[in-house]
């Protein structure tokens, strides 16, 4: 009887050990799958639509159209990413984009300023907007969701006030300004700007102490403060970065559209947001990151372009973006829950193993 009990006991321990190994292997598999998930999806999207529409999908013109069209979304997604690294939302980026686009055209057309001066003003305003967001969130303790929504709505008011609610037509815009969005040597310049911004942000988030501090704040603001990280400054800085990138996106949008339209802007928020959140499911699963964000923008853009070429109606875009947002966030929540569950079994296994030690 005693022997049998001892045997089952040993069996139980062995079971716990293999269970731990299983949990480890499963966890690693989940990690690998989610790390490269988006890259695989991107390749699949290209192959599927390349096969379905071989004559049009891979044409340089299609690719360039997609890249130029998505450069604004990509910049906005990168802008959104920075505050999100600290777990703060910036819902003002869409409205901000719209205001920057109205200002960059309006300052040239209505105020007769040369475009570099207009751009400098737009960027100065962008710094102010980011600073205001940061101030409201850090100093006044207003929830970022509400603070940036309020600021964004104010910005929408400003663009309508400045433009009188009417479209500003960009007549006689200098070629140096409209040329900002040209294709030079087969390279669409907007894609180049996105690449530059992405490389810069990648270096900051992956290789500089500043970036790690942002993620540390996002992981636990209290722990961050006790590590000597001045959380107020970093969060404010994140909002300013987000503001500046939104301003740059607005200048680019002005150059692409060559008009300043006050109603443009808000519709960019959701795709940018969706890309950032979808990007957080991959490369560094569980946190927003540059490569994941770019991959997500590309997947959304090319799969939508492919669906369009298959003859989908214009409104499909909205189903697409809304659906992707829900699926992306759902996936990331699921992945996080999986990681936690695996972590729990792993830790329990550890504890059991520690208990076994004499």
């Amino acid at each position: 009887m005693g022997e049998r009990a001892a045997a089952t006991d040993r069996g139980g321990r062995a079971g716990a050990q293999t269970g731990r190994a299983d949990a480890g292997a499963r966890g690693r598999l989940t990690e690998v799958a989610s790390t490269y998930g988006l890259a695989v999806v991107f390749v699949l999207v290209m192959i599927v639509f390349g096969l379905l529409r071989p004559d049009s999908f891979f044409r340089a013109m299609n690719i360039n159209t997609v890249l130029v069209g998505q450069s604004v979304t990509a910049l906005l997604a990168l802008a959104e990413m920075v505050p999100l690294a600290t777990r703060q939302f910036d819902l003002s980026v869409g409205f901000h984009l719209g205001m920057a686009q109205v200002l960059i055209i309006g300052l040239q057309v209505q105020n007769g300023l040369p475009w570099p001066v207009a751009a400098a003003i737009v960027l100065a305003v962008a710094v102010l907007v980011g600073f205001a967001n940061g101030l409201l969130v850090t100093r006044f303790g207003i929830d970022s969701f509400i603070a940036t929504m309020g600021v964004g709505t104010l910005l929408y008011g400003i663009s309508n006030w400045y433009s009188g609610g009417a479209q500003i037509t960009g007549s006689d815009l200098p070629a140096s300004f409209t040329g900002l969005s040209n294709v030079v040597w087969h390279i669409p310049l907007p894609a180049l700007y996105v690449a530059l911004a992405a490389v810069g942000l990648w270096v900051v988030t992956e290789r500089l102490p500043v970036g790690r501090s942002l993620y540390v704040i996002g992981a636990s603001p209290r722990a961050a403060a006790l590590l000597g990280i001045r959380t107020t400054r970093y969060v404010t800085g994140a909002f300013i970065t987000s503001g500046v990138l939104s301003g740059i996106a607005g200048i680019l949008l002005g150059s692409i559209l060559e008009t300043g339209t006050p109603s443009v802007g808000p519709e960019y928020l959701l795709p940018a947001f969706a890309s950032t959140l979808l990007g957080a499911t991959s490369i560094h699963p569980g946190r927003v990151n540059v490569v994941g964000t770019l991959l997500a923008v590309l997947i959304l853009a090319f799969s939508f372009s492919g669906v369009q070429q298959l003859g989908a109606a214009f409104y499909v875009q909205y189903f697409f973006n809304g659906g992707i947002l829900i699926v992306a966030v759902g996936l990331s929540v699921y992945a996080a829950a999986r990681r936690r569950a695996v972590a729990a079994t792993g830790a329990a296994g550890d504890a059991a193993a520690a208990g076994d030690a004499p």
């Binding site: 790690r212 209290r222 006790l226 569980g286 550890d350």
Partner: protein, 516 residues
């Protein structure tokens, strides 16, 4: 106090409760008469809270009976005329004083709607009934000071017209003057004919307050006595179950030879703490111990720059620390702090073990670039994991994967990167297995030997007795005394921390030094 013949207000007979294999309560008797304050004392796990939970109807007893005014009753939640004031008070900070009262007393209504004037009026009446100046009944509870909240918790409990009031450590977080204010209210309750059961770890405050005392240990009633007939030493002995041990058993003597002053604290004042004076030599491990809420954590945090200092001077190796320093400044000056609340204040969830080890270059060194090339950072992290025997030994794993003991090793290692001169270690081994605990103790020992000063803030008296060279006992924001050498034992720590300053005739042993 009871006249013979008239039944006691509350009578508990042979109360027994078993949780699995543990006998939490073993035939416990307790009698509370009207107009009596009855203290209930014992170490953690002695059965005090089980008894209270049975009275509150949270648990059902396995055997034994409860009689109220001679009538046997069955406790169900909220059914008996007994009020409870728990340590956390259960107040809602966002609601007003009147609403918090009404949550317990019920909302007065008129035609189905809440009668607000009556809510405010009733709150004022309840305060007035206790002879306490009422605060603004419409003020949010969050705006009250700590003492005001404790008073509200008690006053509110009385609104149910209870005959018996049970207070579970209501003074744990209160500074001395506020605690005295609370004792006045208890005396008024007694005068009004209520029976009070008063649970506390601070034995010192019972003398002059309580009428009778019951000591529980391991689920059994050890003694019930009239307060005037029992001395503090007997109380402590009853709680511990043996004559207080004088011998210091586990501690290895400190080895550092050329010591000089590491941290010097003079006249430190900060929220509810002070004045505090002490010093920690380099190469020395000093414990700062006390009951929960005694103020030892705030002293450590004030040294680290996490809590604003209101007065006094701090010196680190002779250099004055500017009072305006923030945490980052103090880290730069060579002070590190390992927080007690591991999940909330140490763990960076969702980040890798490597990032948790090296979260910020201020701590780990490194310039503009993050710890050099990615490969070098990884190698450095791997070397640390190897050295501390952290399992699993993979720097890329998420920190959430590790068990508590392995996580804590990572966080200790995180701070050791800072090469600090003073380490403030809050509960360095709370809630982790014995293997990791010993490893961390060894690590701290070697850090001290290398010449750093270590201040261990711990409520684990076993740990303090075996790890520290000296221990300073803190009570109500002051240092009550110091234990060192052979006198640094668990029993002496318990005695010193529980008895407090006014009644501290703890067993005097060789090597014990008293502070004013």
């Amino acid at each position: 106090m009871t006249t013979p013949g008239s039944p006691a207000l509350l009578e508990i007979r042979g109360l027994t409760k078993r949780f699995g294999a543990t006998l939490a309560l073993d035939h416990v008797d307790l009698t509370v008469a009207a107009g009596q304050i009855h203290a209930l004392v014992g170490e953690n796990g002695a059965g005090k809270s089980t008894l209270i939970k049975i009275l509150a109807g949270v648990h059902a007893q396995d055997a034994g009976e409860i009689r109220l005014l001679g009538e046997p009753v069955a406790a169900q939640v909220g059914h008996l005329p007994i009020s409870f004031v728990h340590q956390d008070l259960g107040l809602v900070d966002e609601l007003s004083v009147g609403e918090n009262v009404a949550l317990v007393a019920g909302f007065p209504r008129r035609r189905g709607l809440i009668d607000w004037p009556c809510v405010w009026q009733r709150a004022r009446e309840i305060y007035a009934g206790m002879g306490v100046e009422p605060p603004d009944a419409r003020a949010p509870v969050g705006t009250l000071p700590a003492a005001g909240k404790a008073v509200l918790g008690i006053v509110r409990a009385l609104s149910r017209q209870a005959r018996v009031v049970v207070l579970d450590e209501p003074t744990a977080a209160l500074p001395e003057p506020d605690a005295l204010h609370l004792f006045d209210i208890l005396r008024r309750l007694r005068a009004a004919g209520c029976g009070v059961i008063y649970v506390t770890h601070r034995l010192g405050e019972l003398f002059g307050l309580a009428d009778r005392v019951t000591v529980l240990r391991d689920g059994r009633r050890i003694r019930t006595a009239t307060m005037s007939e029992i001395g503090p030493e007997e109380l402590v002995q009853d709680m511990l179950g043996r004559a207080v041990e004088m011998l210091h058993q586990h501690h290895a003597p400190a080895t550092a030879s050329a010591r000089h002053t590491g941290l010097q604290v003079s006249g430190l004042h900060c929220a509810g703490v002070g004045p505090v004076d002490f010093r920690v030599e380099t190469g020395e491990i000093v414990g700062l111990v006390g009951l929960r809420g005694a103020g030892q954590e705030r002293i450590g945090r004030a040294v680290f720059g996490a809590v604003p200092v209101q007065g006094g001077e701090l010196r680190l190796e002779g250099v004055v620390l500017p009072p305006g320093d923030g945490i980052a400044d103090r880290i730069a000056r060579g002070i590190a702090l390992l927080p007690a609340d591991r999940p909330l204040e140490s763990v960076l969830t969702g980040l890798s073990v490597q990032e948790n080890l090296l979260p910020h270059p201020v701590i780990g060194g490194g310039g503009v670039w993050l710890f050099g090339a990615p490969g070098r950072e990884r190698a450095r992290a791997a070397a640390i994991l190897q050295q501390l025997d952290v399992r699993p030994r993979d720097p890329a794993l998420l920190i959430d994967w590790l068990s508590g003991g392995n996580q804590q090793k990572v966080f200790v290692a995180r701070w050791l990167q800072s090469k600090a001169r003073l380490y403030v270690m809050e509960e360095p081994t709370a809630g982790i297995d014995i293997g990791a605990k010993l490893a961390i103790h060894r690590l701290l020992g070697s850090v001290a030997e290398a010449g750093a000063a270590i201040l261990v803030i711990s409520s684990d008296f076993d740990e303090v007795a075996s790890l520290c060279d000296r221990a300073l006992v803190v009570g109500r924001g002051r240092i009550l005394g110091e234990l060192r050498g052979a006198a640094l034992t668990v029993d002496n720590l318990v005695a010193r921390a529980s008895l407090g300053s006014r009644h501290a005739p703890a067993p005097v042993a060789a090597g014990e030094v008293r502070h004013g």
